[in-house]
């Protein structure tokens, strides 16, 4: 059972919250431990008013608190890598909106380097495809890629299942999450999805302005930037997710890793050097930028677009950057429910 409140993160001030939590804890202390789930404030998947309907098929993987908790534990579990050193959280760090801050391309097992910049784990319930090349279409199948990638975690699903079965805690956690005994790769992948699906970033200033929360408004500069954004950027970085999920070549050229992006999936000439349009939420935390992390600052990114077909003067660039600031969601990066 879950208790639902009207807004995912209600406006109740912190003191009230702690007071309520205290009472809940006191009640819990007097009950048997397995009653805990009945009164926990787990809210499941909640869609913000300004967001579209999610793409993920929740009917195939019902989100429960036990499932989310198991998914979170697995996400931060080094046993998922061949030599038990790397977890998903090693490259997807909560403070950096679940990216691998400070690395142009991600570093995996035994410090092996990949060829791509880690994507944020954020608002994945709305993704039509995954990865920079869109090779995978189902979140539940996405986790297999980092696990089996020889330069990321280099492990076999079947071997992880064996490791988890031998572990003291996991058998009980899987039972709690799925109702019956048994650890399988299917269940593991579904639990990981349950955790990732709740990593929702919808508390930026932009979101609050859109929803009219607390009379929040853009400054004049942000508003000017918003209008310019709609004119020059929104075709690809479409609101409110800030991506139309298409694949485009914005003229970065072929990098030394010879990454042709979407072409590797479709083998069509026309798809050479096309990459998924990334979301522009939380740019403050997700540097470096682009599929290979070769752009270290937003100024450099803006220069790249200007060298193409988008003509902006300095003032306009500053305004757009001011607007992009409003897409940062500090609350998301600090949320204790998501952090390791």
């Amino acid at each position: 059972m879950t208790i639902r409140t009207t807004s995912r993160r209600s406006q109740v001030n912190k003191q009230h919250l702690y007071c309520i939590l205290g009472i809940i804890l006191a009640i819990v202390a007097c009950r048997k431990s397995d009653d805990w789930v009945d009164i926990s404030p787990f809210m499941g998947f909640q869609k913000a008013r300004n967001f579209p309907e999610p793409v993920y098929n929740f009917a195939t993987n019902k989100i429960t608190e036990a499932g989310f908790n198991l998914g979170k534990k697995l996400f931060y579990e080094p046993l998922l890598s061949r030599n038990n050193t790397i977890s998903c959280g090693s490259c997807h760090i909560s403070y950096y909106a679940f990216t691998h801050h400070g690395h142009t391309v991600s570093h995996g097992i035994e410090d092996k380097e990949g060829i791509r910049n880690a994507l944020p784990i954020m608002n994945l319930a709305w993704n039509e495809s995954f990865f920079w090349d869109g090779g995978v279409h189902n979140l539940d199948l996405s986790s297999v890629a980092p696990i089996e990638n020889p330069v990321e975690m280099d492990e076999k699903l079947s071997n992880i299942v064996l490791k988890l079965q031998k572990n003291k805690e996991y058998p009980g956690l899987f039972k709690a999450a799925f109702g019956t005994e048994g650890i399988s790769s299917e269940r593991m992948l579904k639990a990981l999805s349950q955790f990732m699906l709740l990593l929702i970033s919808d508390q930026s200033k932009y979101d609050k302005v859109q929803r009219g929360e607390g009379g929040m408004l853009f400054t004049a500069e942000e508003q000017a930037g918003y209008l310019l954004f709609k004119k020059h950027c929104n075709t690809c970085h479409s609101e409110p997710l800030f991506t139309d999920q298409s694949f485009r070549d914005i003229g970065l050229g072929l990098n030394p890793a010879k990454d042709y992006g979407r072409y590797d999936i479709t083998l069509h000439e026309r798809d050479k050097l096309k990459f998924k349009v990334p979301s522009l939420r939380n740019l403050k935390y997700t540097a470096p930028y682009m599929h290979d992390g070769s752009y270290l600052t937003l100024a450099a990114v803006m220069q790249q677009f200007q060298s193409g077909s988008i003509k902006l003067n300095n003032e306009e660039t500053t305004q757009i950057l001011a607007f992009l600031e409003t897409l940062n969601d500090a609350q998301f990066t600090l949320d204790k429910r998501f952090a390791e």
């Binding site: 098929n57 195939t60 495809s129 990865f131 090349d133 090779g135 995978v136 279409h137 189902n138 539940d140 199948l141 297999v144 890629a145 696990i147 089996e148 990638n149 076999k156 699903l157 079947s158 299942v161 790769s185 299917e186 992948l189 579904k190 590797d264 999936i265 479709t266 083998l267 069509h268 798809d271």
Partner: protein
């Protein structure tokens, strides 16, 4: 030995077709009378078909690892891994009607190193079948389904799955060859046509005529065992012979379509054992 005593074995070759049909008919009548069932209700009566995949390399029995073979380009190679999917099995009766094995019971991962995997078995309505159809690979629909429907042989942890495009590897063949600069060769052939953008499609339909070497007569409670010879040398030396030196590693790319065309033709019907008693298998 017990097995032989109790089973009625009929080797049906070219020359013996009439004899076999006669015997089949007699057996049919026999079983029909015994059970007191009208022959017309055969749709509800089921028997078993067992396919047997016998792997050979040209004129030799496949020996994983140890043996050395030579291709048309005069390169030596060994075979350490040979695995492929067959799926979407259909059987055609003498009168042209078709029985399609229920889709979800028709996926089989054949692995030359796993004895048990070489004999896919399934239930079919009683009757005489003259043609066997299947796909080498996994149909495109299954390639796009979610994790919950990827069960058994289709589990994504069988090493026959590309995590980066969530598609299956249809055929995996690996081994050693001095012709390759690394000393090894790898053929991982897949490609289901793409999720929403069309791309290479290596799903190959195989149709095997059973009339020449023995139709499959399926009788209630008994097994009809269809033996196929699978000549693995044709992966390299089929329609488009190629050299390992030039293509030591073929995965998702244009050339993979030539290899898929090659192996599409490697299945040959050798013979059928009808009316096999199903001994505690």
């Amino acid at each position: 030995m017990r097995y032989y005593l109790y089973s009625r074995i009929f080797y049906s070759y070219n020359m013996k077709n009439n004899f076999i049909i006669l015997l089949a008919a007699v057996c049919f009548l026999f079983s029909a009378c015994k059970k007191d069932n009208p022959i017309s209700s055969t749709e509800n009566q089921r028997g078993r078909v067992k396919l047997k995949f016998d792997h050979i390399v040209g004129g030799r029995v496949l020996q994983l690892g140890s043996a050395t073979y030579t291709n048309a380009a005069a390169e030596n190679y060994s075979i350490e891994t040979l695995r492929y999917y067959i799926s979407n099995i259909k059987l055609t009766r003498q009168d042209g009607t078709v029985y399609t094995v229920p889709k979800d019971s028709s996926y089989f991962l054949i692995d030359a190193s796993v004895e048990n995997s070489l004999f896919p078995k399934f239930q079919v309505p009683v009757g005489t079948y003259t043609k066997l159809d299947f796909i080498v690979g996994v149909d495109s629909l299954k390639n796009t389904e979610d994790i919950a429907s990827r069960l058994g042989d289709l589990s994504v942890d069988k090493g026959m799955y590309w995590s980066w495009n969530s598609g299956y590897i249809f055929l995996k063949m690996e081994g050693k060859s001095a012709a390759s600069s690394s000393g090894n060769y790898h053929f991982h052939i897949g490609g289901f046509g793409g999720y929403n953008t069309q791309t290479i499609n290596n799903i190959k339909a195989v149709s095997v005529d059973l009339t020449k070497a023995g139709s499959s007569a399926v009788q209630e409670g008994l097994s009809s065992d269809i033996h196929l010879m699978v000549d693995v040398s044709l992966v390299l030396d089929g329609k488009t012979p190629f050299s390992i030196k030039e293509h030591p590693s073929v995965m998702f790319g244009e050339f993979s379509t030539s290899i898929a065309d090659n192996y599409q033709a490697m299945f040959r019907h050798d013979h059928t054992h009808n009316f096999q008693k199903i001994a505690g298998e």
